[in-house]
Symmetry: C2
Subunit: 138 residues, 2 copies
Amino acid sequence: MNVDKAMEKLKEEGYKYTDKRMDMLQLFKDESRYLAAKDVLEALKDKYKGLSFDTIYRNLSLFSDLGILETTELAGEKKFRFTCSTDHHHHHLICLECGKTRHIDECPMDVSPVSAEGFAVTGHKFEVYGYCNECQES
Amino acid sequence: MNVDKAMEKLKEEGYKYTDKRMDMLQLFKDESRYLAAKDVLEALKDKYKGLSFDTIYRNLSLFSDLGILETTELAGEKKFRFTCSTDHHHHHLICLECGKTRHIDECPMDVSPVSAEGFAVTGHKFEVYGYCNECQES
DNA sequence: GTATTAAATCGGAATCATTCTTATAAATTT
DNA sequence: AAATTTATAAGAATGATTCCGATTTAATAC
């Protein structure tokens, strides 16, 4: 996934081109880590002085619906990152400080599938937490 | 873990005996599933008319600090359940409707440990979601 | 290039879960 | 029973997120 592809996808689906959307996507591209809504506001508020949370949340949720962003919930906050280009299902090692990630290729559901009689499995979450190089120092 | 042991633990640690704590613990014992603060309030509000969220949250957090309750975060809510009696590390299959659980004995971190150079791992989360028998019907 | 239309944005209010504060009440100790 | 310490109620405060009405803007039709 990259910015151009994402903007194309928006167009295909009948959504409009706006500078704010473009800049939001560029931000996720540049950062390539999990960001919260407030991080996005922080990054763009200088360029767009009246930028509202509503706009950010609306677009984050749109991007995530279109598969442009991946999402997780960490410490009571929704976090978003550019969908990884690796097209196969995978998980992440996540820095609790800055949101930076590393891939985990092996999915526990493949290695030893979980199932239970009468229980309809619909999804799973596997995340490993810690602190990245840079964040350990501070 | 059971109600009596939990109340003993409270006493050992210098906390006071109150009917509300006892009833909260009994509730978790009876339900044996993940409950949110509002579920606890709902269950006890008839017996204790002025029961406040503060009391519930304070006690939930105390119980969880003492290892009496396990906790997870689901759909933006903190959820709590009686700590499983199996004393070894394990995970859960969780019903998204009612919070009922099944054990998953195998931990993905044992099967194929995740590590990464320069990344200090501090924890992980593995949960499988779905719908239990009863909740599938409705 | 202007008019039309549908979608996007702003600004602030509303909501929801959770935490904090201060005064009062209850449990434990003496 | 009095003194001490912890627990509680009630409501205010907080933080993240969503909703709403009015306005603006992008895409499309003319």
